[in-house]
């Protein structure tokens, strides 16, 4: 197996698109979520994110990384204005539509209309869910951190409600994302389904692992 090595002096010499693809691939597999928001004038917005990160379970907190100048700026502005947003899993059945939300649509166009996914509202959340998504989180904005190194933002919200298929919820709280058809992303543009290897028991120093 031939190994290719790059060091920090090589990165600036890479063609921009090459570097973006390359560095985006290195974290490993990522989540694929559609973030649903609404503007003060009632116009809905939908944008794909691969940066959702678990921050904590109690309270239930989830983070997203934003580049304020990116195509996700409308999402950011809506969250800061309204204070709420939805996070909807992307499934195999609509991953191409989800990817298409990354296009730079004009502000007066709702991605819901452009890509033909269906907005859906709950009583608790002043932001649209994606009806076609099986696993949906209603999220309240909590706080943000400006990452000074490159002017990105870690935006953190608390989960205020969840919807999911009962058949995907295991007795111990684990959610079977594979059964829901949730996809994973690598790099900027590659989508994958998954195949379970195993659930493994809680690791302890002197005990062999078992499969759950």
């Amino acid at each position: 197996m031939e190994i290719v090595h790059f060091d920090i002096k090589d990165f600036p010499t890479m063609e921009k698109r090459f570097r973006t693809n390359f560095i985006n691939s290195l974290t490993g597999f990522k989540s694929a979520n559609l973030v649903g928001t609404i503007a003060a004038n009632g116009k809905t917005n939908l944008a794909i994110f691969s940066s959702a990160v678990h921050i904590g379970a109690d309270p239930a907190l989830i983070g997203l990384i934003f580049r304020p100048t990116s195509v996700a700026r409308h999402t950011y502005e809506n969250i800061k204005t309204i204070g709420y947003y939805s996070i909807n899993h992307v499934h195999e059945s609509f991953f191409k539509q989800a990817h298409q939300t990354g296009a730079r649509y004009d502000r007066q166009i709702s991605e819901f209309d452009a890509i033909q996914l269906t907005p859906e509202f709950s009583e608790a959340l002043p932001a649209p869910y994606v009806k076609e998504s099986k696993i949906k989180l209603g999220v309240k904005y909590e706080e943000e951190y400006l990452i000074k190194l490159n002017n990105t933002i870690l935006l953190i919200g608390s989960i205020i409600e969840t919807f999911l298929p009962r058949e995907c919820l295991m007795p111990d709280g684990f959610v079977d994302l594979e059964k829901a058809g949730t996809v994973t992303v690598s790099g900027l543009d590659c989508y994958h389904t998954t195949q379970r290897l195993a659930r493994l028991s809680y690791p302890k120093p002197d005990l062999p692992l078992s499969e759950i």
Copy 2:
């Protein structure tokens, strides 16, 4: 399809392990990485993380979420002391060993010895890589942000070198993680291989997507 709904009043009533499994599942699929560090006394450490998040490509920045009181506290202390760490993809061939690094080993025990993975050093990085991993990043500590909501830490580093199989690097910079056998994690303990659906072209408002 029966839908189960929870709201924010339900979360505190959940049994602790149930809640932890549940909320950890909700972000979607996650990366699986082994973080390699070394203490000032030369003792190596290895710990699994599912929280790696892409922060930026230029400069190349990667984030990790830490709970300072967790089993990952030795990793955190080593990073803050030495200033460097490695991030190594977890593959199907050693995902059980990787999971086992989550056990609370005493500080004088190196997880490399306990789980039988092999430390490997480069000239540039004062921290151990995992020889068995095909995709390895050398990372320099840059800064951290304390998330006041729950006292977790977003720790950010800059990538100073990378190693990967040449056959996994595509001409446009995309890294084929599936070809490398990199796994993805759901919840706290479930490991999956992946199957590619498609790479999709850069989305534009009035153009149909194509497969790359």
